[in-house]
């Protein structure tokens, strides 16, 4: 569940959950009672107002299971999904409280209910919900803290997660608090820390297991429902009640949603429009919770129980089956009615994409989501205290969202790359089956392109159908090319909360690609402005470090690469840099204009390394870099003039989450590389020292590494693909972790291959090695 979205929309979610459920319960109950008074409900249904209220309370709760199951198919936008889903989660507390209160009232008999009892009921609502949440948070804290120390006992991590989460549930149940809320809060609260702490394998294990268990549980519940429906001893039919209930729940839900939305839109930045409201009211599915609650009724106290059971069964079936099945066509129909239908020209299609990207970018600049004062405060607090306490130290350093995405992309990319057989042949003559890689496939034919576009391709049937002439066919080809090839702007992302597919999808791959290109471009533009400065100065230094050969190669590659990529960007301080301390030890500390001359050195190392190496030497005057301490807000961000046309880029790895991205990318790659070396432990928790030693031998081998990766299909288009390939290759090495055993001998060779100083990759590669030495 996307926790960020959840908290963004928390106001709306709470409103719908609490106010909406209360509204539904009361109106449905009262209306049914009115119906009975009016005589439509047979008198054999002996129920008073309280009974009807009780019934109303249990039938009005939206069920998370059913909602998830249905909305997965519908692919509504994320906000809508999270609102409905969040509502269904949080209304559990309200439902439970209402149910218990009404139940106890019914048991006491309506005559005995006094005013204080109502107050007690309201108070218990708060106690139950907040208490449940509190229990959940306590266990979340416990879980996060425990996983911090499980580095040596990885195997128990999934177990810990399950057990502590289940313990949260049981504890809440024991104390008669809202158990669903407890588990929800536990999950929400600990997600960030646990994800950072536990190993990749454990994460996978937990994810898949939970999905399986959830599927099973759901199936069982609905089976129970079905079987109970068939067993007629359990229920008794009354048409008036059933039909009335069906009508009222739909009707009152719709009204409730409309009213609440109108109220909420006054406060929301992004209002919920009519379509959203329709989907929300239509998507309020009832499910197993209602059924469970109705079965639990005591027949002696509630004589109409059988009628209620029958009604509940019908309601659940109706909502899940009828509403669930029809919601997708409904959504489609509503949308299709609004959009015009004309064949877009190539221009329009392209520009549409451009505009979407522009809009997304401007929204980010404006800080569409970033305003919230309290969230900022919370993030500060979290960064300073909580994360340090609950996250493993190494994980703490590298927790940045983009890096995280990038890292995961790397892994998956590498895995899929290797799965496809990979066309990288090591000098040891690797004999993986050589299926065509993505690169070669892409250039073969249009059909391949179409196939590769996958399910997200725009099935622009119009285009296909009217292909008559060569030009039309060309048109079609281009349309499909664009559809498959263009990066999808943010707006078009679908909700990603699927229960059955755990894919982090094309979005992340796209993010990674774009990210790499952007970084590379920024680097290039930065380089292009100042690469004349102090070329010679770097040479002696580099000679000292023994990297000269590679640097020379890199340099030529770089200059080759530059002209075709002249995008005309202005001189920019593309990268925020801080001087790397130890690197400069070798250089003449006597140079006074060091401050201006020092190259920007990418330090692909974790900050703690520098910490360990202590205060820097005299040459550090160049760089006011003692701001190694992570939380320091003034981490040295010196723009240093670019020095020599190659890899003297040093960027401090700072652990601030919103730090300059290239830093984190370096870290990411560093981690990937270090994970290569460390056989036993997964990347995230790599002890920093390990990065130093193992990379050293690799550095020496660089010059021999083949300069041309086999099957480079596009020599003219050097940068992004090579970079992407390097990215992929790097990730490939990191992918080794899950496949250590098989590919172990491969890794060493692969390293060399991928560390080949191709074009801009070399910069990154080189830097690894440089830092590795220290």
């Amino acid at each position: 569940m996307p926790s960020r979205l959840f908290f963004d929309n928390l106001g709306a979610i709470l409103t719908y959950a609490v106010v909406g459920t209360l509204w539904n319960a009361f109106t449905t109950g009262t209306a049914l009672w009115g119906l009975q008074q009016a005589g439509f409900v047979a008198p054999r249904v002996q129920a008073g107002l309280l009974d009807f209220l009780l019934f109303g309370s249990l039938i009005s709760a939206v069920d998370p299971v059913a909602v998830l199951a249905v909305f997965e198919e519908v692919h509504v936008n994320e906000t809508l999904f999270i609102i409905v889903f969040g509502e269904s989660l949080l209304n559990d507390a309200v439902t439970v409280v209402l149910y218990k209160v009404c139940n106890s009232f019914v048991e006491m008999g309506s005559a005995n209910v006094q005013a204080t009892d109502y107050l007690k009921g309201v108070a218990s609502l708060f106690v139950v919900s907040l208490g449940g949440a509190a229990v959940g948070l306590v266990f979340a804290f416990l879980l996060a803290l425990t996983t911090r120390f499980t580095k040596r006992v990885r195997i128990i991590e999934p177990l810990l997660v399950f057990l502590i989460a289940y313990a949260a549930y049981l504890t809440a149940e024991m104390a008669s608090l809202s158990a669903i809320l407890a588990v929800t809060m536990c999950g929400l609260g600990c997600k960030k820390y646990v994800e950072a702490n536990i190993s990749h394998k454990s994460r996978t294990a937990v994810k898949y297991t939970m999905k399986t268990l959830a599927s099973c549980a759901e199936t069982v519940i609905f089976m129970l429902l079905g079987i109970s429906a068939v067993d007629s001893s359990k229920w008794a039919w009354d048409s008036g009640l059933v039909l009335g209930t069906l009508f009222f729940i739909l009707f009152f839900r719709a009204i409730g949603v409309v009213l609440q939305t109108w109220m909420l839109n006054q406060f929301r930045l992004v209002p919920l429009d009519k379509i959203d409201q329709v989907v929300m009211s239509y998507g309020g599915l009832r499910g197993a919770v209602a059924f469970a609650l109705v079965i639990l009724l005591d027949r002696t106290k509630v004589p109409a129980k059988d009628y209620f059971v029958a009604t509940t069964i019908v309601v659940v079936f109706f909502t899940v089956i009828v509403q669930g099945l029809t919601i997708k066509p409904l959504v489609k129909w509503l949308k299709v009615k609004r959009s015009e239908h004309h064949k877009p020209t190539l221009n329009q299609e392209l520009h549409e994409h451009t505009f979407d990207h522009i809009l997304a970018a401007v929204e980010d600049v404006v800080g569409h989501h970033g305003y919230h004062y309290w969230r900022d405060r919370w993030e500060q607090f979290d960064k300073k205290y909580l994360s340090q306490l609950l996250m493993r130290r190494s994980a703490y350093r590298i927790r940045d969202q983009i890096w995280d995405v990038y890292y995961r992309l790397n892994i998956r990319d590498a895995i899929s790359f290797v799965d496809q057989g990979g066309h990288i042949l090591s000098s040891a003559g690797l004999t993986l089956p050589s299926m065509p890689s993505r690169n070669s496939a892409a250039e073969t034919s249009v059909t391949n392109l179409l196939r590769e576009s996958g399910s997200g391709a725009c099935l622009d049937l119009q285009v296909i159908d009217t292909v008559r002439s060569g030009r039309d066919r060309e048109d079609a080809v281009m349309h499909h090319l664009l559809c498959g090839g263009l990066y999808k702007p943010r707006r078009r992302y679908k909700a990603s909360c699927s229960r059955h597919f755990i894919s982090e999808d094309a979005q992340e791959r796209q993010d990674k690609e774009v990210f790499q290109q952007n970084m590379k471009r920024r680097l290039e533009s930065f380089k292009s402005t100042k690469h004349n400065i102090c070329f010679t100065k770097s040479k002696p230094r580099l000679r000292k470090t023994g990297r000269k050969k590679k640097d020379g190669v890199a340099n030529t590659e770089a200059t080759n690469g530059k002209p075709p990529r002249d995008l005309g960007f202005q001189d920019t301080a593309a990268v925020i840099l801080t001087m790397e301390s130890e690197e400069e030890e070798e250089s003449d500390s006597s140079e006074t204009e060091k401050e201006d001359d020092e190259g920007i050195i990418f330090v692909a190392r974790a900050t703690s390394e520098v910490l360990q190496e202590g205060k820097v030497s005299g040459s550090l005057e160049v760089c006011p870099s003692p701001r190694i301490i992570p939380p320091s807000p003034t981490c040295a961000e010196k723009e240093l003039p670019w020095k020599s046309g190659q890899g003297d880029l040093a960027v401090y790895v700072s652990s601030e989450t919103t730090k300059i991205v290239p830093v984190d990318m370096q870290t990411g790659w560093n981690q990937s590389m270090s994970s290569l070396e460390s056989l036993a432990s997964p990347p995230c928790t790599q002890a920093p020292t390990l990065t130093c030693l193992p990379l050293h031998p690799l550095g020496a081998e660089e010059p021999q590494a083949p300069l041309h990766l086999p099957s480079d299909p596009r020599p003219s288009f050097a940068f992004p693909p090579s970079l992407a390939k390097a990215g992929r290759s790097h990730s490939e090495s990191s992918a080794d972790i899950p496949q250590q055993q098989e590919l172990q001998p491969l890794m060493g060779h692969k390293d060399h291959t991928h560390l080949s100083p191709r074009t801009a990759n070399s910069h990154w590669c080189i830097q690894f090695n440089r830092s590795g030495r220290l």
Binding site: L350, T354, F355, H357, V365, M478, V514, Q570, I576
Partner: protein, 196 residues
């Protein structure tokens, strides 16, 4: 947060900006707040680095282009009025009949023409008022994944320019650009609701 109201006095030239851009007071305050949040070193202006720090821009294919468009030609500093002026392009267009507007006044920044002009400037990297095939190609390259080959890109760029180019000069002028997009709902596509 109650101290927000005092910020109005801090914004320099707030009235000029309001007139020029048409933002409401609340929006201006919000944008000023955001400006100050982005300006981490409290310099009083934004540099490219500040904008590049926005993580989400790094995964936007046009992120760098957008950043460049904020900075008026070749300058390295972006002050608040410049910041707001660019953002004003993205204000939603008010529903008013064109007859009411005073024809003597310059078009509001968020008019359709100005929105298109902004987009045009994004494409037109060398600022000569024409989108050449090269420039189209460059922008395309930014936006397309790595699996599309160079030849395919070139042919797409060719076709795109061909389609839009009417006077046959091999480049797309602003008018041709507008013409090719006349069916598109620019007002909606280039508006951010919160910037009222």
């Amino acid at each position: 947060m109650g101290s927000r109201s005092s910020h109005a006095a801090v914004i320099p030239d707030v009235d000029t900006i309001r007139r020029e851009t048409g933002f409401s007071q609340a929006s201006l305050l919000r944008l000023h707040h955001r400006f100050r949040a982005l300006d981490r070193d409290k310099k009083g202006y934004l540099s490219r680095m500040d904008l590049q720090q926005i993580g989400a821009l790094a995964v936007n294919p046009l992120g760098d282009c957008i950043i460049d468009s904020f900075f008026p030609s070749r300058s390295q500093r972006l002050d608040f009025s410049g910041f707001v002026r660019v953002l004003a392009h993205f204000r939603p267009v008010e529903e008013e009949s064109p007859g009411i507007r005073d024809p003597k006044q310059p078009e509001p920044l968020n008019s359709r023409m100005n929105k298109l002009r902004f987009a045009f400037q994004l494409y037109d990297l060398d600022g000569d008022g024409l989108i050449s095939r090269q420039e189209m190609l460059q922008v395309l390259r930014l936006m397309v994944g790595v699996q599309v080959t160079e030849e395919q890109l070139e042919s797409i760029a060719d076709r795109t320019v061909q389609e839009a180019d009417e006077d046959g000069d091999g480049a797309v002028s602003f008018l041709e650009f507008t013409k090719s997009l006349e069916k598109m709902n620019i007002e909606q596509k280039m508006s951010i609701r919160i910037l009222k």
